[in-house]
Symmetry: C2
Subunit: 212 residues, 2 copies
């Protein structure tokens, strides 16, 4: 693990790290590993109107709210981005993200191209977007089949959705082909550590150099 | 070491990685380690009119040329950048850099702020610039004194030159405070590996996705 401990002694600006990929390309496992190995990044927890599933925890997996509460959040501008998927709404609470970035920490977003596009539209210099591609469609299908004992129809539907999601890779800053989990995790880690070294993310540098 | 082996299977655009720092901040050791640990990056060898010193090798340390030959290279546009330091000229041959980048390899530049500014003026998207700062002026002076048994006057002169060089950190993309050699090397490695994952540096992605 590369340590960037030293840069944290000075005032810094957090990174909004977006990971997007078609379902089955490895994004969820990669996000989990990023959060485990680096205590300076924290997950943005979405708010949703969809019902809680068995095993899910409010405030960990999602913030589960009613349709009325979601609409109130949209009206008050409390969401950085939101989208409707089937009959349910999903969104990113603005307050948590701003507090985390302000504290010099980074925020990881596990969102799709629509959410990324909305975040990008706000033109925040904090945004760093990474798209994960599968090595092949055959491998993507194999991973989707391994995951659950779904019918051919369900898998076919997921493959079609994956293809649509994948078409948005040209909108991202970085693109990684996930042939090997460890290599891909290393590349995402490198991206985060490199972004932390960017001059513009270290507003304390001026004071540091003046103090020399 | 993070491996980015996978990305090299596809057509890519090489990175021009510039490392600058005041003398004594560790740039030379860092450059050497980067070249040793990564076979996809190669050093840009400068051409100079200064006399060869004992132990130096033509084509390894520098290309040693006459003033007349240097002037011919400038006139023919064969140098990407050049500068006069005291009575000697130093420059970067364009041909070697373009051939290396065209072959999908990266080129490391160990040059000062003047050379970096000239490279930046050509507005090449390949350019990635990193400035290495010392942790303190006392530490910089300590390193300058360790290196050679120089007189106080010589050290004072180098410190003044270091201060002038250091004032140019705001012109660089990335800034690293070299408190610890291994951490700094890890950060430069992360920057190079991250830059390799940038969408714009992987012109083969279009073909890859179409082949899926």
């Amino acid at each position: 693990m590369i340590t960037t401990e030293e840069t944290f002694e000075m005032r810094r600006r957090g990174v909004m790290l977006v990971l997007s990929s078609p379902s089955g390309a490895g994004k969820t496992s990669l996000s989990r590993s990023m959060l485990e190995q680096d205590r300076h990044i924290t997950l943005s927890i979405s708010v949703t109107t969809r019902p809680m599933r068995p095993g899910e925890v409010h405030g960990k997996d999602y913030f589960f709210v009613s349709h009325a509460e979601f609409e109130r959040m949209v009206e008050k501008g409390e969401l950085l981005e939101y989208a409707k998927v089937f009959d349910n709404y999903y969104g990113t609470p603005r307050g948590f993200v701003n507090e985390t970035l302000g504290g010099g920490k980074d925020v990881l977003f596990d969102i799709d191209w629509q959410g990324t596009r909305q975040l990008a539209a706000s033109n925040r210099p904090d945004l760093v977007s990474v798209f994960i591609l599968p090595p092949s469609m055959a491998e993507l299908e194999r991973r989707l089949r391994i995951r659950a004992q779904d019918s051919d129809e369900v898998v076919a539907g997921r493959m079609a959705k994956a293809q649509a999601e994948m078409s948005h890779w040209p909108e991202y800053d970085y693109v990684i082909i996930n042939r090997n989990f460890a290599a891909t995790l290393g590349q995402i880690t490198a991206i985060l550590n490199a972004e932390r070294c960017k001059r513009v993310r270290q507003p304390g540098l001026d004071d540091f150099v003046n103090s020399l």
